[in-house]
Symmetry: C2
Subunit: 328 residues, 2 copies
C-alpha cells in the first residue's frame, strides 16, 4: 500500500519533503497546500495538484498523513492541533521550551479525532533528542553535551539583517574544537556558552554604511552575540551568493558517563551529523516518521507522539524479519 | 515499583549487570544463578542469594526479568527459549547470522508463556544495529559502514592462545584512520577487509619458544588474521598484566547518503562508542532493555522483541512528560 502524503506549506521544508517522497517508493505526493495563490506555486513533481490551504479539509480522504511545514513561532501552534482533527499529522515544532504545551494541545485534538500526530520531528528536536534519551538510559551516571554546527543559523542571520546598514548576512555557528576534544576525552568539563561555540558572520553592508558601527552592533547584541566570541567579515553581495548560499548544518550529541561499582570505567557515546542541507535532512527524518504515523494509525493508535514513543522498526518500509536479518 | 532482576551466569556480563543495578534506583538484584557450586560464588551485592541454575524455576515469582549472561555459541541458543517459558528474559545473543532463527525460537516459547523476551541486546548487535536502522530509514540513498575498535577481541585473543608456544595473548582490533576519514568525507569508498581494520597482538611466549614461528603462525591464520595487516609484539607476562588487563572496545557506525531531486546534497550520520569496559557498557544497555521488557509485559505484550521493536521511552525510568520536558 502506498502512503499518500500531503504537504502543508511549500517553503524549504515543503520542497525537502517532496524530494524525500521521490526517494521512497512506498510513498507518493498526493497534494500540496499553500496560503499563496496556488496558481503561482510551481512544484517539482509532475501531475500533483496544488490547492489553497483553506481547501485542505475537503481533501482529507485523499491523504494518509499531512506534513506541516510551517514555522514554530506562529504557524505550528495553531496548525498542528487544528489539522490533527482531520488528518494524521507530523510537524517539526522546535521551540524546546514549549514542547510540553504543544504536545498537550495536539494530543487533545488527535485523541478526539482518533488520529495520530507526531510532533517535533527532525534532528534537534528529533535525532539529537533520541540520542540524549538513549545516552541517559544507558549511562545513568553521566553528563550530556550538545554542540551545534558548523552550520547556518537562520535566526542569527535574520538578527544581523535587522542591524542598521546591513543589506544581507549569513551567520555560522561553529563548535569550539578544544571544548569538543575535552568532552571526547572524558574530562567532563563545565563549559560556558562562550567556550562551546563561536559565531562567524558574513555581512554585506549598504553603500556608505559605517562598518565599525555594524560590527559593534552585531558583537554586542544581547542573547544573539554578546555571550559569544564573534567574528564579522564584510563581503560583497556576489561573494555571499557564491560562497554562502547553501544551508549546511550539523552538530554533536555526546554522553559521557561512568560504570562499575566505584565508577571506575568511563565511556563516551557520540552521535554527530554533517549535513549539506539542513532542510533536506530534516525532511528525510520527517518522512520516516510520517510512515510511522500511518502505521500506528492503522494499528488503532491515536493521540500525540514524539520520537521517544515510536518503535524504530516503524520508520522502515522493511518487515521485522528483513530488518533482523539485514541490520541487527 | 522496583524491578526485581535475576542474573543467570556470573561472569563478566553477570558482574556488569550487578553494577548496573547498583546505579539504577528503580531496579534491585533479586538473585544470581550459577552452574557452579553456589557456595563458591562470591557476589558484590550484600544479602542477595546465589542459587544453582537448576533451581531457577522455583524462584520465578520473585523475579520480574531474568538476564541471561551466557555465551552465544552454546548457552543462549538453549537457555533463552527455555527460560522464556517461565520468565521475561533479556539476552545478548550476538551471532548475527543466526539471529533470525534464535528470534523464532524465543518468540514461539514466549508467546506460549505470555512472557516477553528481548534478544541480541548490547552494542553490536544493539546500539550499532539501531543506528544502522535509523540511518537507513533517513538516508534511503546511502551506504553503511561499521568499524570496530580500538578494542580487545576475545575471540582473536583466544585464537592466538591456541598457537603452539604461546602462553597468553591479547589482541586489539584497530580501525584504519585513513579509511575512517574517507568515509567521513563522504567519499563512499569500497573497502576491503584489510583496508578497514588492522590487528595488533601482544603475545607472551613460553620459555624457549620459536618466536618467528609463532609470529608466522598468527599472521597466516585463516579467517582470524590472514586477511589483515597484523602486528605481533612479544612481551612479558608482567607487561601483559600491567598494560593489557582491561577490556576496552568501541567503534563507529556511519551512514553516508544523498538527498535532493538529483542527489545533490550529501550527509554523514556518525555514531561512535569509546568504552573502557566492553562488558559493563553492554550490560548497561541490557539493564535499560530489562526495564523495557517488564514494562511491555505489564502492558500485556508477549513474544520475542529486539531493540528495533522497543519505543525509546521504555528504556527510561522517567515519564513521557518528564522526557519531553528534559530531553526532547
Amino acid at each position: 500500500m502506498t502512503i499518500r502524503i500531503g504537504i502543508m506549506g511549500y517553503g524549504n521544508l515543503g520542497r525537502g519533503i517532496e524530494c524525500a517522497i521521490a526517494q521512497n517508493s512506498d510513498t507518493t505526493l498526493a497534494a500540496v497546500f499553500t496560503r499563496r495563490n496556488p496558481e503561482t506555486v510551481k512544484i517539482q513533481t509532475p501531475n500533483v495538484p496544488v490547492y489553497h490551504a483553506d481547501d485542505a479539509i475537503a481533501h482529507k480522504d485523499e491523504i494518509d498523513v499531512l506534513v506541516l511545514c510551517g514555522g514554530s513561532a506562529t504557524d505550528l501552534p495553531e496548525q498542528t492541533p487544528y489539522y490533527a482533527k482531520y488528518f494524521n499529522v507530523v510537524d517539526s515544532y522546535d521551540t524546546h521550551a514549549t514542547i510540553p504545551e504543544h504536545f498537550e494541545k495536539v494530543d487533545a485534538s488527535a485523541r478526539q479525532s482518533g488520529k495520530v500526530g507526531i510532533i517535533s520531528v527532525g534532528w534537534d528536536p528529533g535525532m539529537f533528542s533520541l540520542n540524549r534519551l538513549y545516552g541517559n538510559a544507558i549511562l545513568v551516571d553521566g553528563k550530556d553535551y550538545t554542540f551545534w554546527g558548523k552550520g547556518v543559523s537562520q535566526g542569527h542571520s535574520d538578527a544581523i539583517r535587522r542591524v542598521k546598514g546591513v543589506k544581507d548576512a549569513r551567520q555560522y555557528t561553529v563548535p569550539v574544537d578544544v571544548a569538543l576534544e575535552a568532552v571526547r576525552n572524558g574530562e567532563n568539563p563545565e563549559l560556558t556558552t562562550r567556550e562551546k561555540h563561536t559565531r562567524v558572520c558574513y555581512v554585506v553592508a549598504e553603500d556608505g554604511a559605517d562598518l565599525a558601527q555594524i560590527e559593534n552592533d552585531i558583537k554586542t547584541m544581547p542573547n544573539y552575540f554578546a555571550d559569544y566570541d564573534t567574528t564579522v567579515h564584510f563581503i560583497t553581495e556576489e561573494e555571499l551568493k557564491r560562497d554562502h548560499s547553501g544551508i549546511p548544518h550539523g552538530g554533536f550529541v555526546i554522553r559521557s558517563g561512568k560504570t562499575g561499582m566505584n565508577g571506575e570505567n568511563s565511556h563516551i557515546i557520540e552521535y554527530s551529523l554533517k549535513l549539506d542541507s539542513n532542510p533536506e535532512f530534516t525532511t528525510a527524518v520527517i518522512l520516516a516518521y510520517a510512515r510511522a504515523a500511518v502505521r500506528l494509525y492503522n494499528e488503532g493508535a491515536k493521540g500525540a507522539k514524539t520520537v521517544f514513543d515510536i518503535p524504530p522498526a516503524y520508520l522502515s518500509p522493511k518487515s521485522g524479519a528483513e530488518l533482523r536479518k539485514e541490520l541487527l
